[in-house]
Symmetry: C2
Subunit: 365 residues, 2 copies
């Protein structure tokens, strides 16, 4: 009989930060027994207070699954110890790097048939137990890197836990995981940080000219450096290779711009910009489609209730909102809300909103 | 008597794209006479149909101000001709680069005492007369680079037009303008394009793991390459220098990651990430303050009306929304709305929303 999600009835969570505590809350809400431990006894006590489980003072019995939710630097050694302490249980980790942990484990004498590396991509990885939420994993990707030593029924049990949390399962190898997150997460982080670092040379008056573009490019630069140093080090090879590639392309663009009369310079810039247009169109939007929406900029007074009022009107007009963004104009009494809709509906929406008294600052199909 | 905004009673707009047509609409709404011309007679006729002014078949009389709203490649020569054709009028341009146009004009025999370079930063620069809006410039920065040959009253007249459009005036030199937009607009564009270009190596399954971070970093990569080639060429020197700096820093990060055991490698990465945290905190947020908001992720069903409903509740709870973003989960039936509020209000808001039945997927102070 395949081991189903419900066959997991006792879980031991090591590390009660944001991920560990949220997982505890979710499992408890499904009636699973949860024991908690953390290097900081106040952190595990806090997680227990929030309802994430019971603090384990000794190694608990009746554990089917151990979840290691520690920082990446110590994950491998905690997993190895858990495999020894719980000789019957499955052990998973939730760190955001996978191959370096697998390598470290394979160099030790541990039972790899009971280990599965996983990575729930639940937005921000910062925050302690107080930031935890039962619904943290809902509709988020959760990567499962089973390797080839794990039985089908063990894998099914892990999948069951992921589904219990409402996340979407992405099975892949640890190697593929690390290559992909280098591209879609780690390198964008470093690029954003470096771009944001150039703004330290600006005066406050200069930055009054900062529009939505530079804000978007640099937003994630505000992430926690201490955690990112660990992530980058544990995924150093794929990140380093891709960063070198990005650096070379930017260098080539700088060279092309240093003398645009040189043959091929303009073509090089054009190809670079065209590649960017193609690349960004690959990212799936709502419902997995590439984004091909028309946008409308509505001017709103910068006071409570205005945003709800315009969205209420959009709902009444009956046009489905595919996306929206809010933009403030520092120093001005108004803001903008950019509405994304299907291109064939944008004129209708714009006319109907104007009829209702809204001011439209721009429309693009 | 200082020449005030109202002293401008006749304006000739050359180039009826998005900016020229929007300016015409705005000036007409204030009772100013507007004549229009464009290389494409159908574009100027269309702008006139929208109400942006009257198509000029010959050079109009009674013109106080000529606005050159052509692509940057031809702006200088059109400005030079306008200064000759209208010996009594002020002439401004609205191109997004300033020093190269000034240089081209200064090398010719034209009356620089009547020329002022300007740059309305009105979001997307793409789109023809059909995308034009009376309110396009509302609450947007409008840079004015007067130089030192223009009289105070002429400058006051230009300021009057900018204010009439609802934009905020930013006086600076052409050189400063180009340096600043290189940093806050042109270099972020190239960096975003190059980053997005790397995604062409990804499979569709890879990009299912793309979260909000990489989406933000690459969003502007979708901009029009044909226009950007012109902009980059006309601001080549500042952009090239800053791009080379970004490339060097990314190269250094790649090198540090290629062997993190080398002395100083970790420190180099930490300093780079720290500089990014400092840099992004310099960008003014709402009301010109640096952004220091707490965030809350609310789960919403992916159907019309949900967003308006949650914002309606936020309004009733009485917590002021500082910012918000919508996030979709491709393939999932739910989306997320991230609400940014003052940190001291975030717990109250989160509790009140849960009481009203909303599911919270995350909270960060």
């Amino acid at each position: 009989m395949a081991k189903s999600a419900t066959s997991i009835s006792g879980v031991y969570i090591i590390g009660t930060g944001l991920l560990g505590t949220s997982l505890g809350l979710c499992l408890r809400s499904h009636g699973v027994s949860v024991w908690l431990s953390d290097l900081s006894s106040s952190a595990s006590a806090l997680a227990a207070d929030y309802g994430a489980g019971e603090v384990a003072t000794t190694l608990p019995e009746d554990v089917d699954l151990v979840v290691v939710a520690t920082p990446p630097d110590v994950t491998a050694s905690v997993v190895a110890q858990a495999l020894k302490d719980f000789p019957q249980a499955l052990v998973i980790d939730v760190a955001s790097v996978k191959q370096s942990i697998r390598n470290a484990l394979e160099s030790q004498d541990v039972d790899m048939s009971r280990y599965v590396g996983t990575h729930p991509m639940a937005g921000r990885e910062k925050g302690g137990p107080t930031a935890a939420r039962t619904d943290l994993f809902v509709a988020r990707p959760w990567v499962v890197c089973a390797g080839d030593t794990v039985s089908e029924e063990s894998l099914a049990a892990i999948h069951g836990v992921v589904e219990m949390c409402g996340a979407t399962i992405h099975d892949m190898s640890a190697d593929d995981h690390d290559r992909v997150v280098a591209m879609v997460s780690h390198v964008p982080q470093v690029v954003s940080s470096v771009m944001a670092g150039t703004l330290n040379a600006a005066s406050p008056a200069d930055l009054d000219l900062a529009g939505q573009g530079v804000r978007d490019v640099t937003r994630i630069a505000g992430s926690d450096p201490a955690l990112w140093i660990q992530i980058l080090q544990h995924n150093a090879a794929p990140v380093s290779a891709l960063l070198a590639d990005v650096a070379a392309k930017l260098s080539a663009a700088a060279a092309a711009l240093s003398d645009t009369t040189v043959a091929g310079a303009k073509r090089e810039l054009a190809e670079l910009l065209d590649a960017g247009v193609r690349g960004v169109s690959q990212i799936p939007g709502k419902h997995g489609l590439s984004k091909q929406f028309a946008t409308l900029n509505v001017i709103i007074d910068d006071k409570p209730g205005q945003l709800a009022a315009v969205l209420h009107d959009v709902g009444e007009i009956g046009v489905n909102l595919e996306d929206m963004r809010l933009e403030h104009s520092p120093g001005a009494a108004v803001g903008f809300v950019e509405l994304s809709v299907q291109p064939e509906r944008v004129h209708e929406l714009s006319d109907a909103l104007e009829t209702r008294g809204w001011r439209i600052a721009g429309e693009r199909s």
